[in-house]
Symmetry: none
Subunit: 415 residues, 2 copies
């Protein structure tokens, strides 16, 4: 079953709003085994909406629109759909009653514009909106299904889950789908592709692989699809996953929507371990990731951003002579920082980062992007050097994720 | 001039990635006076890409694609474009050299896949990518311009600003446009709208106002457009801006793409002032903002993330009795934190933040979102309470920007 999503709104086309509705719907439809073949965003303009509907109907079985259902005059999706499906707008007393009680609950006066929102095409099925005044509409025409939803994300989601999801399952004979996303760190896309080439080539035809790179993290998504047995499909995807783990297991830190800071935080919490940080080039960014997790105060005691040598020396007990001899970005210093932080904060683990984020500060020996990371625990100190890129922001981001990844690896060894 | 944006990628159509590229490009094109009439997302599939190109060419003068230029086999945009424009892929020695040096700098081995990325259609203009290995391509066909950019956002942005923006201005006869964006902090959108209502109503027809809200910052963008005299247009926009400043001057912290952390950093640097931080609920996020600015080590000495009371007491000399009496989130404690950080790091200014980011930790007296911020200098300590929202991530973001804004205000008073 092929679907197209059409999002309607001037604010999308001037770039004022990022369209998140279509990603949400696409993800939900995919879970049902409905393939989204195109997403189209058009302005609040009758001709543009009709052209998008006509185009979609040529290739898709199911067309879902969002947006343009508000009470003000710039929203024209409902009127356009009524004309497109040759229907008349008539007042739905039950809808009006729902709008009235919703507004009463919010202590908002019912006005003429709200009353107009109860006028709906006479040849659609109304999808009740429990979260707002704009109703969903389901039309059928020439063997195609057209569904119109409001653009306000939480209203769209309410209608989808309360009114639409179940009906989609009933109406269509859907294939089984199984996704697994493998989260990796430490191997660039092109090298990863070389490493898993043979495995990728041997995948069965109904299982596809996609590479999803972002700074510091490479996600590999396996998607299996079948019109046959969903249990067999899942087994078959899991079998391929097991093979993949044998090849790249050391680079995998999680699956699907898991986050490294959450996974690492859970490891610390479950094992009653504490953490502290000593950051130089990442400037508080590792700490920011750690504390983005609710409940992180259970294991994170604190951190020092040592942006000057004085602070490294005084608070982290780094040896001044070693800074002179080896430089602040060196294995010696980063290890002393980690050890110093662990002593200072009295924690089980301490992570230290020292690097040259750029754009200035690089030398021939230590170009911009050179970064040392150390992890200290009662088992001793380990450290690694990373050669990151040229961009300051991305270097900080990559160094922060590398620090978390190294910490994660060391905790797992420790347990 | 009408443009269409086509974003290519299976990850968009399964909803795994929200397409932010099209909003970015749409916003940039709008600044140049180019209207985006449609945004289309299609999968990494030859037929879908070609259909989208054909459709776009029917209505748009300029068609921009992003995505599908990676080195791996799932990326087929380049091959598809080569076929679409009847061109042959040939190796560009200069491009290969650029890829080689980029990878050498990153200490990544050049492999066959990277070498293939230097093979480009022989009838396009190559747009150099300074941030990655996938080049941009500019084709011309039947009076239409087609530009292909990589899907990785920072690579797309690099090519847009370094290679594309200027050429668009040269190639097309665009209307004169003048934008000024006013950056404000401390006034919610709905209240701001009331405050400037009369001014907004009196704007001339060719000058439009847009509200661009984001957590902690409300941007007001004034856009003037004319087919007439650009100098007159600019004067006219500036005149309106002067009036606006009279009304909301105290909330303005900068203009256009200025960042609060850069503006504040410059104030410190120019006046030879130093800064330190003591963060609790923001967990390193203020420090991360400060150090995101190149050269921040000139004024930023360091910070302490005091995520436990022990650290507040030991490193920041907060009085234990006061924590018991007033709680860690209180005026007394945040002022002691600021003062303690200033002493500890021996800086001209110190900023402290203590709040309840959530989701847990709120009480009736101090609900989630309650946040104290203090700034210490030789002129004494000032502090403010903020009632932020319920969402942890947004609370951290808003508190961090509020801290910078308060610091900025205090530095300006100090000078």
């Amino acid at each position: 079953l092929k679907a197209e999503i059409i999002t309607v709104g001037d604010e999308i086309l001037i770039g004022q709003v990022v369209d998140t509705n279509s990603a949400y719907l696409a993800s939900e439809l995919n879970k049902l085994g409905i393939s989204v073949i195109q997403i189209t965003s058009v302005s609040d303009n009758r001709q543009s909406i009709i052209r998008a509907l006509d185009n979609a109907a040529q290739h898709a079985d199911l067309i879902i629109t969002t947006g343009g259902l508000g009470p003000t005059s710039d929203d024209i999706t409902k009127q356009t759909l009524a004309a497109y499906f040759h229907s008349r707008l008539t007042q739905h007393p039950k809808v009006l009653e729902n709008i009235r009680s919703l507004l009463a609950y919010r202590r908002v006066e019912l006005n003429d514009l709200n009353i107009k929102q109860a006028e709906l095409p006479d040849n659609c099925e109304v999808l009740h909106n429990s979260a707002g005044t704009a109703q969903g509409m389901w039309f059928k025409k020439d063997g195609r299904d057209f569904i119109s939803l409001p653009g306000v994300p939480y209203e769209m989601k309410a209608i989808y889950h309360e009114e639409m999801e179940q009906r989609l399952k009933q109406r269509f004979d859907l294939p089984a789908i199984h996704h697994v996303t493998v989260l990796t760190h430490g191997m660039p896309e092109s090298e990863m592709a070389g490493l898993i080439h043979d495995w990728e080539e041997s995948l069965p035809a109904n299982i596809k692989l996609a590479y999803l790179p972002s700074p510091g993290i490479l996600r590999l998504r396996l998607t299996g699809k079948t019109s046959g047995n969903p249990v067999e499909l899942k087994k078959s995807v899991e079998r391929e996953l097991t093979e993949l783990k044998k090849i790249i297991g050391q680079y995998i830190f999680g699956y699907d929507n898991e986050k490294l800071e959450v996974i690492t935080g859970n490891l610390l919490k479950e094992n009653n371990l504490s953490l502290s940080l000593a950051e130089s080039c990442t400037g508080g960014s590792v700490s920011g990731l750690i504390t983005s997790v609710p409940g992180s105060s259970a294991y994170y005691k604190g951190g020092i951003v040592a942006y000057s040598n004085e602070i490294k020396i005084r608070d982290l007990k780094v040896k001044p002579d070693d800074i002179s001899t080896f430089g602040a970005v060196s294995q010696q210093i980063v290890e002393q920082m980690a050890s110093g932080a662990r002593d200072h904060f009295k924690t089980d683990f301490a992570v230290a980062v020292s690097g040259i984020a750029g754009p200035a500060g690089g030398t021939n020996d230590k170009p911009v992007g050179t970064t040392w990371i150390a992890v200290a625990s009662k088992n001793g100190i380990i450290s690694h050097i990373y050669q990151l890129g040229e961009d300051r922001g991305r270097n900080i981001q990559k160094a922060s994720l590398s620090a978390l990844f190294l910490l994660n690896t060391e905790i797992r060894k420790y347990l």
